[in-house]
Amino acid sequence: MHVDMDAFFASVEQRGNPWLRGRPIAVSGSGWRSVVTSASYQARPFGISAGMPVAQAMRLCPALIRVEGNSDKYVETSEQVIALLREVTPLVEVASIDECYLDITGSLRLFGGAEALARRVKARIREEVGLACSVGVAPNKLMAKLASGLSKPDGLLRLTAEELPAWLEHLPVTELCGIGPRLGAALTAMGVRTCAELSRVPVAALTARFGIVGRHLHEMARGVDSTPVVPTEERPDAKSVGHTLTLDQDLHDREPMRRHLFRLAEEVARRLRKGRYAGRTVTVMVRYADFVTWSRQTTLEAPLDEGLAIYDAARRVFDGLRLRPLGVRLLGVTVSHLVHARDQLPLLPSLQRRRASVQAMDAVNDRYGEFTLTRATLLQMETRTRPISPSWRPLA
């Protein structure tokens, strides 16, 4: 079963503010150059969708109401939904902040069948969380996701094994999760548009063109998917922690860029410490006005989880970059090569003090919100908020 919240961020905002209900709204970051992360259903007829720059969305729909994202609210709501779903089955895989896969095989008898269970889930999410979702029920994850997508908004669709061939007969391949526009275009070039057409292409022809993916495509076309639902708590450890920032305007000077890097480093460090991680590789990403993106990294001997140290490394990488004269629109800092918490206690008093001050800062910010207590260097920067990345998952 696939549960997908409808226009999640936008619906959360409309739930909390009656005036926004029934109106076209777009949730985005606070800068003018940020992108739409979620658009309400009332905004979608205007052609507004997630990922579109705000300025373009405003042109398409001058009446569009912009709402600054509030990450805490979304995470909180998402956790509420996940908790409800876990009452149905412990096998809940959180795919992102607004969608989950559930293996309900073992719960069918208890809840009187798949459809009854799905209705119950929808009803409870509506009553207790106050939001609409779309639910797809099918023999596997791929088909369940397809079903929830086809039923949107506020829908419920069950695809049985018997009905699958009929559904797939005329379904465009790009409706399948995992076949994006580029793969779709490549398939169209082969004369393949629907799943049925794809399933009739010999496997050998697909593997010759797409390699290992070819075999997978063949199975997808027939509605076959054997990937299991992996409960989120069993997911392997995180591999990296990173943040990016789209700048309000293209920057040419290094000094303001360094300050942004410092802030990004602090944010990354904070998340590392929350997950009790530390990492040895620091990557700096620079995207220019023409969207050409460069990244460079450095690997250190000792794992880091403090903003200042991460910034030091990031700055050394950044200072070694020769910037193109084009102007920079996005900066990112990522820490990878993660190891589990730095539980080694420091011996030197100077390091003990540094550690203690970081811990004190964390304690204050845990209680009063991010950047309540921060470094003086970062004070002059406007404290911009931006919605949480949709790939958010609860920390294990």
Binding site: A309, A313, H340, D343, Q344, L345, L347
Partner: protein, 373 residues
Amino acid sequence: MKLTINREVFLEALQRVQGIVERKHTMPILAHILLRASPEGLELSATDLEVGLRLQYPAEVSEPGGVTLQAKKAYEIARELPERGRIGLTGRENNWVELSCGRARFRVVGLPAEEFPELPVVEGAEPFEMTAGVMAGMIEKTIFAVSTDETRYNLSGVFVESFAEKGKGVLRMVATDGHRLCLVDEEIEAKQAKRVGKGVILPRKGLLELRKMIEEGLDTVSLGLKGNSAVIRGERGVVVMRLVEGEFPDYRQVIPETAGRKVLMKREEITAGLRRVSIIANEKTRPVKLMVSAGTLVLSASHPDLGEAVEEMEVQFEGEPIEVGFNARYFLDVLNVLTGEEVELGLGDEASPAVLRAVGDEGYLAIIMPMRF
């Protein structure tokens, strides 16, 4: 410049300097070596601006002068030249260097010899002298604790100081990476007690070069200090190093006055036990737990993906039982350089530093901070 030199001698010389040559290519000249011919023979210099080597080798010089050669290429060429051959080296115009041996001829580009950075000259200062073997032992006992964290520059070398205590001279070396600290003392002649003085930080890379020189058969180490440079004289020439700038932390502050608990154990037993148990603790970040109670020490480690390991051994201990977690690597580094049958472990509580030393060796101690578990 014009000279001839034994292929074996030249190859050895080139091999010796490879470790110094800068690999990051920040300055092209640092990937080169300087060859200077004089009636005394051939002098080779290499430096990365932190550590420099200047070595003298026998050669037949018919025309004095200087050239530079790309260190790695020169080594690769010399290695492939015929054995027991005689190499001719001639400097040509525009920094070209001709290299010939048997029927092989190379013409390679060099850089102007004048562009090669001058190694600092440390003259005048009365050198500190010490038996090479003793010095090598002190380096061995400290160098592993030097920080490799580039952000802690002041910990990137071994702190060396000399002083007089009870009428005797003492040379002390201290190294720390912020989590553990090693300190070794050796007696020196009283008249030398002031020669190193209140302390310098010798860079790790320089000490590794010094150790190499000692291994090559040096009897006495002669260390001269001036300004921010140190020079060590060997048979073939000198190692020059830039002292690490920055202040070494006050190590006396972190040495526990008295340890609450004293555990005596067999060195070989604890070493082997830790090696075994730490296979499971694996990664750098997972602690090995030490549980001490009357007469017994239990080592244990667990890993969520691997499993667990436990080993029990007899020790001499009376007092309150305690459980403390440590990075096993830190213990093993120290145990590997200790001698003698018994080691003494001083423990405070779960969050205080442990002191590890060999019974009967008052001159060496290691302090290790626990891990939370």
